[in-house]
């Protein structure tokens, strides 16, 4: 069979080389041993850019847009380290953004987007006080019962949270009071639920009572 063996030290191809256009015996191009260079020299230089009023205006628009977007409240920059020296010229530069924060329309967003208010017990108290004024004593008792129940459910839901996302009912409760529990547990994501650990009576100031006796 033609081409099956090495003909006189020269490699033969399995197909008719004339089909691709090499005449018999002509020099084949060099074998490529490495990837092409990343910046090859080009014989054909690129065409010059379009110039004109339109292009100039769009260029200005582009640069303006870039600058403006950097100043918008949507631009979330990573906080850099404070400068070592307080520069005098800082006074003359655009330091603080005028509208540093922007609040989205919460009605259009999923409820989990809304940051939970960090109102601790102090915040919850006036709420409770306000709401309990018009209500009678019975209602207050009911509310306390409800809250106790909610606390229990809170703890249960904490465990389930890692497995599946909350069902609608629990989701609802999490969003409402008591928000302070929610806040701590969701953000810190640790296993310690603060209500489990109660500072004992002896903790802190209590132990000074019997100091006249020496301890062994």
């Amino acid at each position: 069979m033609a081409g099956s063996g090495r003909g006189r030290g020269r490699a033969a191809f399995t197909f008719d080389i004339e089909a691709i256009g090499f005449t018999k015996g002509a020099a084949l191009p060099d074998v490529v041993c490495k990837p092409p260079p990343p910046f090859p020299s080009t014989d054909n230089k690129p065409v010059p850019l379009k110039t004109g009023e339109d292009e100039d205006y769009m260029l200005a628009l582009k640069q303006d847009l870039r600058g403006t977007m950097k100043k918008m409240p949507y631009f979330l920059a990573v906080e850099e380290d404070r400068e070592a020296i307080e520069r005098y010229s800082k006074k003359y530069q655009d330091s603080e953004k005028e509208h540093a924060t922007w609040t989205p329309d919460w009605r259009r967003l999923p409820r989990e987007m809304k940051p939970k208010k960090k109102t601790k017990k102090a915040g919850a108290k006036p709420k409770k006080a306000k709401s309990s004024e018009p209500k009678s004593n019975l209602d207050v008792l009911k509310k306390i019962e409800e809250l106790e129940k909610k606390d229990d459910e809170e703890e249960k839901s904490e465990d389930e949270k890692d497995k599946t996302k909350d069902k609608e009912g629990e989701d609802d409760e999490e969003a409402e009071e008591p928000e302070e529990y929610d806040e701590e547990e969701h953000e810190e994501e640790n296993d310690y639920i603060s209500s489990y650990f109660e500072d004992g009576d002896d903790f802190g100031a209590g132990s000074d009572d019997n100091m006249d006796e020496a301890t062994y």
């Binding site: 191809f13 399995t14 197909f15 008719d16 089909a19 691709i20 256009g21 090499f22 014989d43 054909n44 690129p46 065409v47 850019l49 379009k50 339109d54 292009e55 205006y57 769009m58 260029l59 628009l61 582009k62 640069q63 847009l65 870039r66 403006t68 977007m69 950097k70 918008m72 949507y74 631009f75 979330l76 920059a77 990573v78 010229s89 003359y92 530069q93 989205p104 329309d105 009605r107 259009r108 967003l109 999923p110 409820r111 989990e112 987007m113 940051p115 599946t164 996302k165 909350d166 069902k167 609608e168 009912g169 989701d171 609802d172 969701h186 953000e187």
Partner: protein
């Protein structure tokens, strides 16, 4: 999403929204639809940051959310929409050409903020226009409103999907996420607003201000805390409509280039005599480009614009031009030949193109290695023996277009990186020049002598000025290049899209 697209999206997000948003956006583009806790755990960012970033992305229509059946919400990034950020200057400029400065500012504000209510847009634009007007003149809200209505009527801006008005039963818990709906008919309906007022200047000392006016003004500002009459009705830019406009522009200018002489002699208005019109239409219909087709003769014939063919020609013209610039005019000749004749053998290429065999071979291989041209095997025998197979060169326009589009994305990414690099290299110098300008401005405001001003100006030495000039020139060049590559991206994308969608 290809790597090139992801990289480009990442650069665009970082440049316009900062690193935190970039990280989350890129993560979502790479991994697809994810719930909130996955985003937090995989990106390693704080809950607070992730929430803020998602809010920003959703506000700008770059990320959408969906409530899943099991009750949790998943977020999905819109990669294509992120790539549109490149085209913002073109949208704004088009609005300017169609609706003047007012239109330009309306579109700009909407693009900068993602979504806004009409009253907010009108107020902001009126203020901005007032700033640029002469002292004492203000922009009336009514004018801005009118332009807004015109933009809505021509579909350049559209309403965002609305929060459905659920009959609130106090027992049923609200869903974790609203399902936004929009009725096709309502998309361009402008709410009836009675926007009365004029733009305000930002300067604190206004001519009108005295004791009682100040009180009134405060009251007015206080009013803004009440919900505006069109609360909840948000508007966004209708990008597709702009694309339609660009496409039409492209086709019109292509035909104009073709029919150069005829176009010049056409009268300006539409008062063309019927006979003349007939002639031109016939010419257009018979043109080998096949932009205009004639179907039937009833009523004098029905003429249509064949959009798909038009887009295909535009894309092909772009391909030819790229080949010509990259490989030379002879290669371009071979390329055009292959486009015409579809499939050719090596020998036939040499004959038809009238190029010596060796060079033709060389050029064909160069184009083949860059994937502009491909080989089609046609076996003569069932065993596909290479010696008994036809090898035909061919150009597959669609795949070449895709390949080029991918290259364009890469180019823009490279351009952006280079621009950022240049800016970073000269950061110190740029900051210095900004400080000097700030000092100069404040000194001029407080009234300083020329000698002092000159002293401050000399803080920047001559070679430094030179460096700044070079930097500015380079950055401008790169920016202009990005704009132009985006034009090519638009042509190629429109063509590819037209082949994918079923007519």
């Amino acid at each position: 999403m290809t790597q090139a697209e992801i990289k480009l999206c990442s650069l665009l997000l970082q440049e316009h929204f900062g690193e935190i948003v970039e990280k989350i956006g890129t993560y979502l583009i790479r991994t697809g639809t994810q719930p909130l806790r996955m985003i937090i755990s995989d990106t390693g960012l704080l809950l607070d940051q992730v929430k803020k970033a998602l809010c920003v992305l959703i506000q700008h229509n770059l990320v959408t959310y969906q409530l899943q059946k099991r009750g949790f919400v998943e977020y999905e990034a819109q990669c294509k929409r992120v790539l549109r950020i490149l085209r913002y200057p073109r949208y704004i400029y088009t609005a300017k050409t169609l609706y003047n400065d007012t239109g330009e500012l309306i579109v700009e504000e909407l693009l900068l903020n993602g979504k806004m209510t009409m009253s907010a847009v009108v107020r902001k634009v009126a203020d901005r226009l007032t700033e640029t007007m002469e002292d004492g003149k203000t922009m009336d809200y009514a004018d801005v409103s009118n332009t807004f209505v015109r933009l809505a009527d021509t579909h350049f801006v559209q309403r965002c999907p609305l929060v459905p008005e659920t009959p609130e039963s106090p027992d049923a818990p609200p869903p974790p996420a609203p399902t936004l709906v929009i009725n096709e008919k309502d998309m361009y309906v402008v709410p009836r607003l009675n926007l009365v007022g004029k733009g305000k200047r930002r300067r604190s000392c206004d001519e009108e201000e005295n004791g009682e006016h100040k009180a009134k003004k405060q009251k007015q500002d206080g009013e803004s805390s009440e919900p505006p009459p069109d609360d909840g009705i948000y508007w966004q830019v209708n990008i597709d409509r702009f694309h339609q406009h660009f496409r039409d522009q492209g086709i019109v200018s292509a035909v104009a280039n073709r029919m150069d002489q005829i176009f010049r002699s056409l009268p300006a208005g539409y008062n063309i005599v019927k006979q003349v019109l007939d002639q031109y239409l016939t010419l257009l219909a018979d043109d080998p480009l096949e932009f205009v087709g004639k179907s039937g003769d009833s009523g004098g014939g029905m003429y249509t614009v064949n959009l798909h063919k038009a887009l295909a020609s535009l894309a092909t013209a772009t391909l030819e031009s790229i080949v010509e610039e990259r490989f030379g005019s002879r290669c371009a000749r071979i390329f055009r030949l292959l486009l015409r004749k579809k499939h050719l053998e090596q020998k036939q290429v040499e004959d038809f193109a009238m190029i010596p065999a060796k060079e033709a071979k060389d050029m064909l291989y160069k184009m083949l290695s860059e994937n502009f041209v491909s080989l089609q095997e046609i076996p003569k025998t069932p065993d596909h023996a290479p010696s008994r197979t036809f090898y035909l060169y061919t150009v597959n326009v669609l795949s070449s277009a895709r390949m080029l589009l991918h290259r364009c994305y890469k180019s823009v990414a490279n351009l952006m990186e280079r621009r950022q690099y240049e800016t970073k290299e000269n950061k110190r110098l740029l900051e210095k020049s900004q400080r000097v300008e700030a000092i100069l401005a404040s000194m001029q405001a407080t009234g300083a002598e020329d000698a002092q001003l000159q002293e401050i100006e000399e803080m920047i030495t001559a070679p430094e000025r030179q460096q700044l000039e070079t930097l500015k020139r380079n950055v401008n060049k790169i920016d202009a290049s990005e704009n132009q590559v985006d034009e090519t991206i638009f042509v190629l994308e429109s063509f590819i899209e037209s082949t994918v969608k079923k007519p």
